[in-house]
Subunit: 217 residues, 2 copies
DNA sequence: TTATAAACAGACCGGTTGTCCTGTTTTGTC
DNA sequence: GACAAAACAGGACAACCGGTCTGTTTATAA
């Protein structure tokens, strides 16, 4: 009886990242041992070490390849595809809330989970995570600026609204994870929706619409 | 040469909690070893084990006695003492932002830090943390209801505003911790301040107060 | 085929962790 | 003072963790 082995470096790497992403999300970085990962992924120590020399390298790959991708897929893409930034934000909040309610438990935001545990532990981790936060915020703010220019649908200051949105979502996910109840997401969304077009302050006056409204695709 | 020993159980317990609170905050639960704590607190294993049989018991004490107290001191008390809920929220945001900027680094919100790491790990942890979140939200909402009754200063729906406030603060602290920049706190505050008195939506009309205010618990 | 490097297997090791255990000292009570 | 219980000291230990190391198999190119 012979046992065949097929070298599949990309598949192996992917499987390890799959398991690591899920385990880090569910148990956190420090509480996940490489032994657990190896067992769950069906991978030997040699293979794991070949693709990821250290545990830190593995986590860094999870952050840069998986967490960033998750934020892009569940937030940036839907917001950019929506008719407006506000509408996009609304859609994501409700989609996530619905999904969480259907699956019956809340594991929290992958970005937030790792950010809390690793930001202070290692500066390389921190910077990789901060980069994702920054891209997330900027995508919303940019979309909002595009709204202002093309459609004219008024709104609050873009950077301000983007920061509040990301913070409210992150915080709401923290609360939801702790209380194991996604309802707070909907409450925060309602609050977000009643953010009025910045009235006071030295912020620039509402910009006049110059171009005709563009057809939405 | 004799070495005298004075039994001071309360002082010993307090010192351990002091160190544990600080260490959990700075490095997290799993990354803090009892050996580190013992060294930092100048406490022997026997003494530590006498007051806190397990690491979990120690963390639970930190949560219930210290984290809850911190939330009460930095949030609930100032908000209750303020002229209105909105004014109280504004004051806390700015006070924390200023404090963080002065100290030059951001360690994050103690409640949030532990909530992320421990909520999914253990149900007892989760419930203790959820209780603090709930009390925090309710204090703001109650204060807001009191504002409505006494002063009449309009505002958004109390529960909604409270949820958004807590979420925005928690999330802003996450971002601030990750980017090591407290500026986002101020941006989120500006956003929060432009939450208008819930205008649209099929939400129930402002509820008329029928009963005198109930004592909280 | 042969040479060469990548891909993988699996044992091994030093260090750490949380907990337990046995003893000693202090404190309070009669 | 006698005595029991609490408070504290400090070592011991088994389990585990992350990383390393050596060896084998597979793919690739000449």
């Amino acid at each position: 009886m012979r046992k065949k082995r097929t070298n599949d470096p990309e598949g192996m790497r992917r499987r390890v990242l799959d398991v690591a992403e899920a385990t880090f999300q569910a148990r956190g970085y420090h509480a996940s041992s490489l032994g657990d990962l190896m067992a769950a992924a069906g991978v030997t120590g040699g293979a794991l070490h070949h693709h990821f020399p250290t545990k830190k390298a593995l986590a860094l790959a999870v952050i840069e390849e998986r967490v960033a991708g998750a934020v892009h897929k569940t937030w940036i893409e839907p917001v950019l595809a929506a008719s407006s930034a506000r509408e996009g934000v609304r859609g994501v909040f409700e989609a996530v809330a619905t999904e969480l309610e259907e699956q019956g438990y809340v594991r929290g935001c992958p970005l937030n989970n790792l950010a809390h545990e690793l930001s202070l532990a290692d500066d390389e981790f921190r910077m990789a995570l901060a980069k994702i936060f920054a891209g997330w915020r900027q995508a919303i703010a940019d979309k909002m600026r595009a709204d202002l220019q093309s459609g004219g649908e008024g709104g609050a200051d873009p950077d301000r609204f983007a920061a509040l949105t990301v913070a409210a979502y992150s915080g709401a996910m923290s609360i939801a994870k702790t209380s194991q109840d996604a309802g707070v997401l909907r409450e925060c969304l309602r609050g977000l929706e009643s953010v009025q077009p910045s009235s006071s302050g030295p912020t620039a006056r509402r910009r006049r619409r110059v171009l005709p409204r563009q057809p939405i695709r």
